[in-house]
Structures are given as structure tokens and as C-alpha cells.
């Protein structure tokens, strides 16, 4: 459809100066004097031996779609696991269960050398840890009860800047995943959107998810990394710094492990918002106590039905004050809404034209996202489509009544790909027939496969413009 050629005008005599940043890495030598460390050699050995049996190696495979290569890619990976329940619950870093990646073929090897198969449980959005449930196999193939060595976490961890901690983990594969540890010091505390700790020096990758033990020999948390929302995380810290997640953030998940089934039921308002900064408050002559400013109301949303309008400032939600002044505060508000319970009616106080206005809103379940949409793959034509979801309409600024299916992926050199079909295209007609649902497309495809025509026309929409594509199936292939 497009050939890339470029204008050959030339910017004359402009020197291009490339600044090469000089990165200086300072390595601070760790104190080595025995009296300077809480962890004496004797103490260290004791702690290490105590926790070592609960450290496991988790091998797993993942399958994901690489849009660049237009194909599914499979990879074998491994990571550290910590047994947190003697009945066979292993906690791992959340990367095992990214939103767009499917883990399978999970095998767990304990320090004792015993191996188990496992399944990855649904990951909690709020914190980047995941869980693997072990499948106990006895000699006759029936389920058995497990009683494994495990780590139990201190429920009231108190860490302070300057505290020394021991981090346990595994060495790389070339060193046979041998168990190991390192000593770190808490160097910073991050307070928002929730309290996490940062160590003075990096922690090797093999220790991601590893238990963090304090001077009293109690496990207080694990090493974690936050995730991009697109990867299924809630907050995003692109720093790449390892964080210490203390046990208060995940103990409830150990006590009540997530199921394998997705159990969503999150509420949404259907608005785009921004924090009421002090500058905006000053501009409008309002108190500088913060709030959530409604910048856009999505059509046909609960917010629209409740009578929220653009420019409203939410000051109270469900009896709780809303004092957002920065973007991170808005995230707290979003979480509050999500967890307020679908089906309930909640009071909202907004400031409109300087005056308080009371509204009440029926909380509705957030609409399905593209990641959760129903999909259909046709192997012969070499493409996968999914239903049009609300988020796709909102982000693409599309007509809410738009009909069709979204191309999710195309197989490289497949019939669909050769015709020029691209992921993101909206298929409106296939073989001259309107397509409004996956069921409809399936029956159209079935008919086409019976007739085996030489050419099939597809009517699509791409970036707001429509056009036809011609698929030439090779039925003998």
C-alpha cells in the first residue's frame, strides 16, 4: 500500500554534534569489618541454612506474539521461587504472569532435588508477585498431601533506612542454580503509592523474588520489581531498581491464594481525570485542598448517567475525601473506585462552577478490555480477530456504535497477511458479507471454505479510512 521514498532536499552545512554522555559508575566498597555488620559469619550461616530448603528453581515456558515478526514465539525461562505454604504454594516474581504472555510447562525443583509440576495462578494486579501451585504426584498417580519446608513472613515488618538485610536467591544456570545470599542495606523508603524500600546496591537478577531477612533472622519481605500497566501491573517504576516488598503487601495473597479463574468485578466511572493542582485551584479561586478534575466524560458511561460533566471536581467519593494534587494521587482514587464494589450506589460530591453538587452513582462493572476480548483464530486464512472492546473504541476515538471485528494478529506469509491485512485493522465485511460478531465470521468462513473461491474481498477500516483488500487463497496448499 505504501512505498517509502524520501525527499532529497539536503540541509546544508549543518554540523551534527552528538553528545556522548559519560556515565561514571561509582562502586562503593561494602564495609567488611565484622563489627560493622549485623550479620556475623556465624549468624549468616544460620540464617542461610534456615531459609535455603524453601528456595526452589522454577522452570517454565512462555508463548507470546511478536508483532515485529508476526508470529508466536516460545521461550524457556526460569526464575527463583519461594515456598510460602507447606501444602505446595510457591511465590515467584510477577513477570512469570505478564498480561500478554502465557506461561505453561511449569516445573519446580526444590533444594532437596525433588521435582513437581505446577500451575501459575491468576496474578493480583496490585503487586508484582505471582504464585505457582504445585501438583503433588504420588507413585500411583493420585494427588497426595505435601508437607514442604517453607518461609513464613513476619507480619509486622519494621524496616528503617540504614538497616542491614540479607537477600537469598539462586546463582545462574551455569552455576547449577546453587543457593546463595547477599547482604544489603536499606537506603531509601518510597512512600507513594505504597511503601516500598530500596537497597543501597543492585541485587542480581537471580534474586528477584528472593526472601529478605532482617537482623533478627525474620523474613520481612521479598525483592520485587514494579510493572508497566500494559504488562498487567498497576504502577510503573521504570527505574529498574529492585524494591523490597514487605510482607504486609502480599501476606493476604498467601493466606487466600488467587484462583486460576479470573474473578474480576471491578467498578469504573468512565471518565478521564487529572489532579486539581494548586495552580488550577488558584485559577478557579477554589481551596487548595486537591480533588479529581473530570477532563473528559466517556459517552454512555456510568459517569454520564450519573450526570457528571466535564470540569466537575470530585471532592468526596463514597464518603471519603478526595484530595488529589498529583498524578500518583489520582491513581489512588482510581483504585478506590475499582474496589468500591460493583452494583452499589455511592454518593459523590463535586464542585461545579464553584458550588458543591451532590450526585449519586450506580457503580458498574468495568467493560471488557482488548486483552480479555473473545478471540478467534483462523489457521487457514492465517489471522486472529477479536471483538471490538470499549477500550479500543475509547482509545481510537471511534464511533461507539462501530460494527466489525479487530484484527488481533496475522500470520507471516499467510493468506491474510499477503493481502495486506494488518493488526489493528477493523474487518467490516468478509467475502461481501457484513461481519458484526465472531459467530458470524465463523459461518462466513465455513461457507467460503466449502465454495473455495479464487478470491475473497475484505472491507476494512484503518486509521479512520476504509478500503478493500483481496485475499487469494491457495486451496491446494
Amino acid at each position: 500500500m505504501s512505498k517509502t521514498s524520501t525527499q532529497i532536499g539536503c540541509v546544508g552545512r549543518v554540523a551534527v554534534v552528538v553528545l556522548t554522555a559519560l556515565v561514571i559508575c561509582l562502586r562503593v566498597p561494602a564495609e567488611t569489618g565484622a563489627d560493622a555488620s549485623t550479620f556475623t559469619p556465624q549468624r549468616t550461616r544460620e540464617i542461610f541454612e534456615k531459609f535455603k530448603p524453601a528456595l526452589a528453581v522454577v522452570n517454565y515456558s512462555i508463548e507470546y506474539y511478536d508483532p515485529g515478526r508476526q508470529q508466536d514465539v516460545k521461550r524457556d525461562l526460569h526464575c527463583l521461587g519461594v515456598v510460602v505454604d507447606p501444602a505446595g504454594l510457591v511465590m515467584v516474581r510477577g513477570h512469570v504472569s505478564l498480561a500478554n504472555v502465557k506461561p505453561f510447562n511449569v516445573r519446580v525443583r526444590l533444594d532437596s532435588g525433588v521435582r513437581y509440576e505446577g500451575t501459575v495462578l491468576e496474578k493480583d494486579k496490585r503487586i508484582n508477585v505471582a504464585f505457582v501451585k504445585l501438583v503433588a504426584e504420588t507413585g500411583d498417580g493420585s494427588q497426595g498431601d505435601l508437607d514442604l519446608p517453607f518461609v513464613s513472613f513476619a507480619t509486622d515488618p519494621s524496616l528503617n533506612v540504614g538497616d542491614e538485610v540479607m537477600v537469598l536467591g539462586i546463582l545462574p544456570e551455569v552455576l547449577d542454580f546453587e543457593r546463595t545470599f547477599q547482604v544489603r542495606r536499606v537506603a531509601s523508603v518510597i512512600e507513594t503509592p505504597r511503601r516500598v524500600y530500596v537497597t543501597d546496591l543492585p541485587v542480581p537478577y537471580g534474586m528477584a523474588g528472593g526472601p529478605v531477612v532482617n537482623a533478627d533472622g525474620a523474613a520481612v519481605g521479598v525483592i520485587g520489581y514494579d510493572l508497566d500497566p500494559r504488562e498487567g501491573g498497576e504502577i510503573y517504576v521504570r527505574s529498574g531498581y529492585p524494591l523490597i516488598y514487605t510482607a504486609d503487601l502480599f501476606q493476604h495473597l498467601i493466606d487466600n491464594p488467587p484462583t486460576e479463574q479470573k474473578d474480576r468485578q471491578e467498578a469504573w466511572l468512565g471518565v478521564f481525570t487529572q489532579p486539581l493542582t494548586d495552580d488550577l485551584a488558584e485559577y478557579w479561586g477554589l481551596d487548595k485542598t486537591g480533588g479529581v478534575l473530570v477532563s473528559t466524560v466517556i459517552q454512555n458511561s456510568p459517569a454520564e448517567r450519573a450526570g457528571l460533566v466535564r470540569g466537575d471536581i470530585i471532592r468526596m467519593f463514597n464518603g471519603e475525601p478526595v484530595n488529589a494534587k498529583e498524578r500518583t494521587d489520582v491513581r489512588d482514587f482510581t483504585r478506590m473506585v475499582r474496589e468500591s464494589g460493583v452494583g452499589r450506589t455511592v454518593p459523590i460530591t463535586v464542585v461545579r462552577d464553584g458550588e458543591p453538587v451532590q450526585l449519586s452513582m450506580m457503580l458498574e462493572e468495568a467493560p471488557k478490555t482488548a486483552a480479555e476480548a473473545e478471540k478467534y483464530e483462523d489457521e487457514e486464512f492465517g489471522f486472529t480477530v477479536r471483538e471490538i472492546t470499549a477500550d479500543f473504541i475509547i482509545v481510537g476515538d471511534l464511533d461507539p456504535g462501530i460494527k466489525g471485528l479487530v484484527v488481533d494478529r496475522v500470520e507471516a506469509a499467510g493468506w491474510a497477511s499477503l493481502s495486506g491485512l494488518l493488526p489493528g485493522d477493523i474487518v467490516k465485511e468478509f467475502g461481501g458479507k457484513q461481519v458484526t460478531s465472531i459467530e458470524e465470521l465463523k459461518s462466513i468462513l465455513e461457507e467460503i471454505k466449502g465454495d473455495k473461491p479464487k478470491e475473497v474481498a475484505v472491507f476494512i477500516e484503518r486509521r479512520g479510512r476504509t478500503g478493500f483488500l483481496r485475499i487469494e487463497p491457495d486451496w491446494d496448499d
Binding site: 532536499g9 546544508g12 488558584e282 477532563s295 481510537g396 473461491p453 478500503g467
Partner: protein, 416 residues
């Protein structure tokens, strides 16, 4: 060869939220004794002043007579008084008679190396690169040549062995060698005349995206052009054209675009129709013929005018029809942010390129000149905080621009 000139315009561009002067270099060819020069619009557009170096190495000032972005052609006029009133000029040939395999010579200033000549053959005469989104003309097919063409050759002539100009070298394919593209001289002749007369080209627009009929199974044998899409609020939509129609007749004449190379012909016929004229379009819909009347509208500007708001560290551009359509605006309104200066008030307020400013302090922005007035009033009133309604994609948000504090600080220092 004496007619070839090295074109050195100083462009005024809006970069990084500021108006900046940028020197560029290209090529051109003198085509008349009174000093008209043909070059590319991408060389001469937005130029405040142009200097041309002649074959004699003399520098001569030139005025920009007109530019046409859609065909990438510009016409300059040399100030011949400087060199005694006469200029050597080239004879224009007939590009329709050009044959594939024919020897051709490219002349110009690749990478600023003036008076460079390279030899090659015509590799193709009907290369269709028409995709308006990339700014490549949909109104003609290109001459492709393997004569060495490089950045800086732009606007220079492609000459046949009889010494006649047959094309204007304009484009290369990225990352390839021996693939240069020239605008056929017959296209240039027509545009040149119009530019000399009016300084601009007026075109008609009806709002259809055309495709070759070969795309639609069974329609390949039909003489016509396939309607792939119809723009909302367009003359074609008003006339009742729909996607899937095959246009078989335009203004009484048959249309034939079985392959994409043939699309330039109908695109050009639509564009060349006088603006506001009602034409009969005959279409084939579901096997039966229908005649529809379409009243053409003026094709909107290729790119809107630009304005620098120095106090805010911001440059904005007028919203054209196509921008309005892309941004899903109900009508042409607002101004679009074309750049922000790092560290400036607009950048500090998180304004970014591509966003559309719909209102300033509650006043709706309708077009660029009105925005200028609103902006100037805001400056005059010395407001500390200015509220903008800004749209990006589906989201309209509030943006507060804070007046720069540098000035008041400077005043403080002076008073000390």
C-alpha cells in the same frame, strides 16, 4: 548544462517551538530567457530568500513565484538585472515520448556539490507512488531512473540525449541505490504555467479514496475505479456515493483503473475539475448503473499556516480540513500545536506536538488569526495563569500555562 542552477534557500521553519532560519541546498533549472527557474517545492517552500548559483558560479537572488506541495513543484524568478538581463535556459522535452531503457542524464548539486552530472537509463515510466498521507502526489506516475541521484539533486533536471529536459529529479528510495524518481516534465509544464499566472494551484476535492478494480473479485474486468471509502461531510457523501461503488464514468468520460498505475489519471481529472462545478458520476452498484451528481469543493490546504507564540515557547498551525477530520472534530476549529520549546511555559505545562487547542480562558478558538488576537490580548493583560482546553485523541484536558517568571526576576535584579 549552463541552465542548471544550485538553489540555496534560507527557510523559515518552526522547530522545537521556535521560528528558526535553516539553510538548505537543492538544484533547479532555468526554463525561460526571462529567468524562470523550476525546482522542487520541498526545496523552495517556506523560503524567505533564495540565492541561486549559476553555471558561471555567479550568485543571483531569486523570488519564489509559487509552490505546489501536491506535485512538489516550485517556480522561482531570477533577478536578471544582476547579470545583464539574460540567462541561459533549457528546452523542455515531451515526457510522454520517453521510453524505458532510454539514456538520460541527471544534473544538479548532490550533497551541495554543484554542477554534477550523472548518467543512467529510464528504468520505468509509470511508477505509481500515490499516497497522499506520505505527501507523494497521486496525480501522476513517476519516471524512475538509475542515474545517480542523491540528497541535493532535488529540483535538478533529468535530460535526454537530445538535450531536452524530460523530468525534475525529486525523490530517492530510502536505503536503496540506483532508484531515483523524477516528475515527468509534461506535468511540470502545466503546473509551471498555472503557478506563473496565479502563484498557486486550485484543485477540486470530492472526498473519495479510490482503489484499482482488480482489488474486488469479479470487478477486475470492469472498466472503472473502485471507491474504497467516502469521507464524512464530503461532496461524494452528499451525492450518495458509498464504498464498493465502481466509478465507470466521470463528467461524461469513461474511467479505467484496473491496476493502481492507472489511478493517477482519474485522481487528476477530479482535481482539475473547476471548483464548485457539478459533474455527473456514473457508478456501478450491485450490478446496476446509477448516475449521481457531485458538486466539487475546493481541496483544502495541504498544510496550515504557522504562528510562533514566543512568550509561551509554542508554535501552532492552522487546523486544515484533513486535520479536523483526523482529530474527529465536528468542524474546522482550534489550532494544532506544532512544537514546544524545551523549558518554555508551554512545555512546562505538558503541552505536546499534535495536540489541538480548542479554547483559551473559555474562549473558543475558531481559526489561527483569531487565536493570534486572543494570545496577544492575554499577553497584554499580563495574566499569570491561562487555561487552555486541549484535545488529544479522545481526551480533552485542562492545561494551565504559567507566565514565564524570568522577566520579573530580571526586573528584581535591576532594582537591587
Amino acid at each position: 548544462m549552463p541552465a542548471v542552477v544550485h538553489v540555496k534557500p534560507i527557510k523559515e521553519l518552526y522547530l522545537g517551538g521556535e521560528k528558526k532560519k535553516v539553510p538548505v541546498t537543492g538544484s533547479g533549472v532555468i526554463v525561460s530567457p526571462d529567468g524562470y527557474v523550476i525546482t522542487n517545492s520541498h526545496v523552495a517552500s517556506k523560503a524567505r530568500s533564495v540565492k541561486c548559483t549559476l553555471y558561471t558560479k555567479e550568485d543571483v537572488r531569486a523570488d519564489v513565484v509559487g509552490v505546489d506541495e501536491l506535485t512538489d513543484i516550485a517556480v522561482l524568478k531570477l533577478d536578471l538585472g544582476q547579470i545583464g538581463g539574460k540567462a541561459p535556459y533549457a528546452v523542455l522535452g515531451d515526457s510522454d515520448r520517453l521510453r524505458v531503457g532510454e539514456w538520460v542524464i541527471a544534473m544538479g548539486s548532490p550533497h551541495g556539490l554543484s554542477r554534477t552530472v550523472s548518467l543512467g537509463i529510464v528504468s520505468a515510466t509509470d511508477r505509481y507512488l500515490g499516497d497522499e498521507a506520505t505527501g507523494v502526489s497521486p496525480y501522476y506516475t513517476w519516471i524512475q531512473t538509475d542515474a545517480a541521484i542523491n540528497p541535493g539533486n532535488s529540483g535538478g533536471p533529468l535530460v535526454n540525449l537530445r538535450g531536452e529536459v524530460v523530468g525534475i529529479n525529486s525523490r530517492v528510495l530510502l536505503g536503496a541505490t540506483g532508484l531515483g524518481f523524477a516528475i515527468p516534465i509534461n506535468v511540470v509544464k502545466e503546473i509551471k504555467e498555472k503557478l506563473i499566472q496565479n502563484g498557486m494551484i486550485e484543485r477540486s476535492w470530492i472526498g473519495v479514496d479510490l482503489q484499482e478494480t482488480e482489488t474486488l473479485p469479479g470487478a477486475g474486468r470492469v472498466q472503472g475505479a473502485l471507491v474504497g471509502g467516502v469521507a464524512e461531510r464530503s461532496p461524494a457523501a452528499d451525492a450518495g456515493l458509498i464504498a464498493g461503488d465502481i466509478i465507470v464514468g466521470y463528467d461524461g468520460n469513461p474511467v479505467s483503473a484496473r491496476f493502481e498505475e492507472e489511478l493517477s489519471d482519474i485522481n487528476k481529472r477530479i482535481a482539475d475539475t473547476p471548483v464548485g462545478q457539478t459533474v455527473e458520476i456514473e457508478v456501478l452498484r450491485a450490478g446496476s448503473r446509477k448516475t449521481l451528481s457531485v458538486t466539487t469543493a475546493a481541496k483544502g490546504e495541504y498544510e496550515g499556516e504557522e504562528l510562533e507564540c514566543a512568550e509561551w515557547g509554542l508554535t501552532v498551525r492552522a487546523v486544515t480540513e484533513s486535520v479536523a477530520r483526523q482529530a474527529k472534530l465536528d468542524s474546522k476549529m482550534g489550532v494544532i500545536v506544532s512544537g514546544t520549546r524545551v523549558g518554555g511555559p508551554a512545555a512546562n505545562a505538558d503541552l505536546t506536538r499534535g495536540e489541538i487547542i480548542l479554547a483559551v480562558d473559555g474562549e473558543t478558538i475558531t481559526e489561527l488569526e483569531q487565536f493570534r488576537t486572543v494570545y496577544e490580548n492575554v499577553l497584554e493583560e499580563e495574566k499569570q495563569l491561562v487555561l487552555l482546553d486541549v484535545k488529544r485523541g479522545p481526551v480533552t484536558r485542562f492545561v494551565l500555562v504559567k507566565r514565564a517568571v524570568e522577566e520579573s526576576q530580571q526586573e528584581d535584579k535591576q532594582s537591587e
